[in-house]
């Protein structure tokens, strides 16, 4: 490569790279929300959990020097937020969506407040694994510098699919989500199942946040999430509560986010606002194509307050 330029190839490469780089928070939040919603609760507060996770991961990584400790701290923070949501929701006549919105505001507000002194310092970042060693094109190598969290997220999706289908606890979560009465008749506490499901969901969302602050874009600031958590919650509905579809949807959203800047960089300059909106247009299009007035959403857990 004489001038180190790859011309129009930038676009597919950027979409691929973007799918890998940008998708990870979507993936973790949507998988977490998938578990929570399958147990019959909606936790809209994951946007707050994501931002809290990003802030605590950055703080712990900065103070301890170990980014992995930061990831763990983000997960624990997320689980605590999940426990808070589930705890409040177990009180009688509490609406889970309203609690979620409250926790979303609490999480972002608390993260901005506690994260104030963290904007300036630079924390230790998560390492990347170089999967592009076979290529001598620097752009390919850059696109294939992949973070372990992405790989973990990709591995969790089929694992979760399998677990929902064949394991005992997968069945319990689904029972609690499809019919609380049936779970109670079997002698299980629905509230306890939902508490655990919401905590695991929060744990994953917190880890998604740690990816934002510790890998890509890789620093803490207040605009970091810009609504990715809430997009990921919507993505679960769009993925029909199926972990594998969550994976594909997250990748599509990540790639779509890279499309706008990549097209501008090769000289397609008209309508960049439209390309920047492409993830949302994609959602609307798929929602319209797959909806039907004749039935409720396929795969929707029957206990969810939106379907009940």
């Amino acid at each position: 490569m004489a001038d180190a330029s790859i011309g129009l190839w930038t676009v597919p490469l950027a979409v691929l790279g973007g799918a890998i780089r940008v998708s990870t928070p979507f993936l973790f939040v949507s998988l977490g929300e998938c578990i929570t919603e399958r147990s019959g609760r909606i936790n809209l507060g994951l946007e707050g959990t994501l931002v809290m996770g990003a802030m605590s991961a950055y703080g712990i990584s900065y103070l301890s020097g170990s980014p992995w400790l930061g990831v763990l701290a983000a997960g624990i923070t997320g689980a605590l937020f999940g426990a808070l949501h589930a705890g409040i929701c177990s009180l009688p006549r509490v609406n889970d969506i309203a609690v979620g919105i409250a926790l979303m505001l609490l999480g972002t507000g608390l993260a901005f407040f506690l994260g104030k002194p963290l904007i300036e310092p630079t924390a230790a970042r998560l390492p990347a694994i170089d999967f592009g060693w076979w290529s001598d094109v620097p752009q390919v190598r850059a696109a294939l510098r992949i973070n372990v969290l992405f790989l973990i997220g990709v591995a969790i999706a089929p694992l979760l699919y399998w677990a929902f289908k064949t394991t005992r606890w997968g069945l319990l979560i689904r029972t609690a989500g499809e019919s609380a009465d049936a779970a109670r008749a079997m002698g299980h506490s629905v509230l306890l199942i939902r508490l655990r499901a919401t905590m695991v969901g929060g744990f994953l969302a917190g880890i998604g946040g740690s990816f934002l602050s510790l890998f890509y874009p890789g620093s803490w600031n207040e605009g970091l999430s810009s609504g990715q958590g809430i997009t990921a919650v919507a993505l679960v509905i769009f993925a029909r509560w199926d972990p594998m579809l969550c994976l594909w949807a997250s990748l599509a959203f990540g790639g779509a986010a890279a499309l706008g800047p990549a097209l501008q960089s090769v000289g397609v300059t008209s309508g960049y606002h439209l390309f920047n909106a492409s993830p949302y247009i994609l959602t609307l299009a798929i929602m319209i194509i797959t909806c039907s007035p004749k039935r409720t959403l396929t795969g929707a857990p029957a206990e969810l307050s939106i379907t009940r």
Binding site: T10, R21, Q139, P217, G223, P261, Q264, S265, G267, N276
Partner: protein
């Protein structure tokens, strides 16, 4: 709490106590010293636009007999009017610096008419004769510093390709992109600047994607005009590209990759304003200036900047300081081939035409819409 149980007598007593308390508060503060309020649209330590203003506020704090009150993350809505009212009524502020562009019209103008005895100094606004006399607007010709950055970038690039991560195609941003490109082409006539607009002032993921896409195109020196350059600076440095900073000095973030940068110098200007007010002199309603007036400055050069680049940049800087250099000097063509400034026309910094800029000059790859 059951509000029904509060009796009317208690309510009256309570509000009387509040009223007396706030009245005393105002008098106490006004008697002791001059109180100055600073209002920021974002976070005070964002390594960017707001931090630059906060550094100015910090310089004011050091002056004797001055008390500074600050509020950050105030949106460009009615919220800023409430902040101004509370700064005046509760803190006793007599001079206010609402620092974000969108505060000016209508919020600052409305407040200036409501509080005719207070002074308002707004950053970036275009004060005109119709506006209240106690309101003023100031701004810096930061494109002069961008021009110097461009010269350094032009010498430092190996591919001849420069990148610019920009927020929105508004005149101030376009002027920076154009000045940066004209400076680069002074050093390297074949240099081009590829621009990517992210669509808003603070979009970290988009800024990171734009940075990566630009570097994938073979671009090896990047700069930006967004509120927080931290994302661009860190991501570009990680990929081995050089950067020119914006708003404040970002070299602590990437000491090896940082070439130079265009910085605000509010810490020089704000104390000047405060001294004018305390000594009873009026501040000009329309205040503008560049390197010469010490409203903007250039970051110290990074280690990698060559001696040749330093010399050329310092020469041009000296001309700016002497006041005899014009950036937008005809003939200048836009990147579609139209002449935008005819040969023989000099558009000096004060030229209002420049504040309406809607084109990208030859050498910029990108479009304004």
């Amino acid at each position: 709490m059951d509000f029904g149980r509060i009796s009317r007598r208690h309510l009256l007593q309570g509000s009387a106590a509040l009223a007396v308390g706030s009245a005393l508060g105002v008098r106490g503060a006004a008697a002791a010293e001059t109180t100055i309020g600073f209002i920021y649209v974002g976070s005070r330590d964002d390594y960017g636009y707001n931090q630059a203003h906060a550094q100015g506020a910090a310089a004011v704090k050091k002056l004797p007999g001055v008390k500074v009150v600050e509020e950050e993350k105030v949106p460009e809505t009615d919220a800023v009017e409430k902040t101004i009212e509370s700064m005046i009524n509760l803190d006793g502020a007599t001079l206010l610096f609402p620092t974000s562009f969108g505060y000016y019209n209508p919020h600052v103008l409305k407040m200036a008419s409501k509080f005719p005895k207070m002074s308002f100094e707004h950053c970036g606004g275009l004060w005109s004769d119709k506006d209240p006399k106690n309101a003023g607007s100031y701004f810096g010709y930061i494109d002069e510093a961008q021009f110097i950055s461009g010269i350094v970038a032009g010498y430092s690039t190996k591919s001849g390709k420069l990148g610019f991560v920009a927020a929105k195609p508004i005149p101030q941003v376009l002027r920076n992109i154009n000045a940066f490109t004209l400076g680069a082409r002074l050093a390297n006539p074949k240099a081009t600047t590829q621009v990517i607009f992210t669509g808003d002032w603070s979009m970290p993921v988009k800024e990171a994607e734009a940075t990566n896409s630009l570097i994938d195109q073979g671009i090896d020196v990047l700069t930006c005009h967004v509120d927080g350059p931290k994302t661009m600076v860190e991501n570009a440095a990680r990929r081995g590209a050089f950067v020119c900073g914006y708003h404040v000095n970002q070299s602590p973030l990437a000491p090896k990759a940082y070439l130079t940068g265009a910085e605000w110098n509010w810490e020089a200007l704000y104390p000047k304003f405060v001294k004018m007010i305390t000594s009873g002199q009026p501040i000009p309603n329309f205040y503008r200036g560049g390197l010469k007036e010490e409203i903007v400055k250039v970051s110290p050069y990074g280690e990698v900047v060559s001696a040749e680049a330093r010399k050329h940049a310092d020469d041009v800087k000296a001309k700016f300081m002497a006041g005899d250099f014009t950036i937008f000097k005809g003939p200048i063509a836009d990147n579609k081939g139209n002449t935008v400034i005819a040969a023989g026309t000099d558009r000096g910094q004060q030229d209002p035409e420049l504040e309406k800029m809607n084109y990208l000059v030859e050498g910029v790859i990108g479009a304004t819409a």
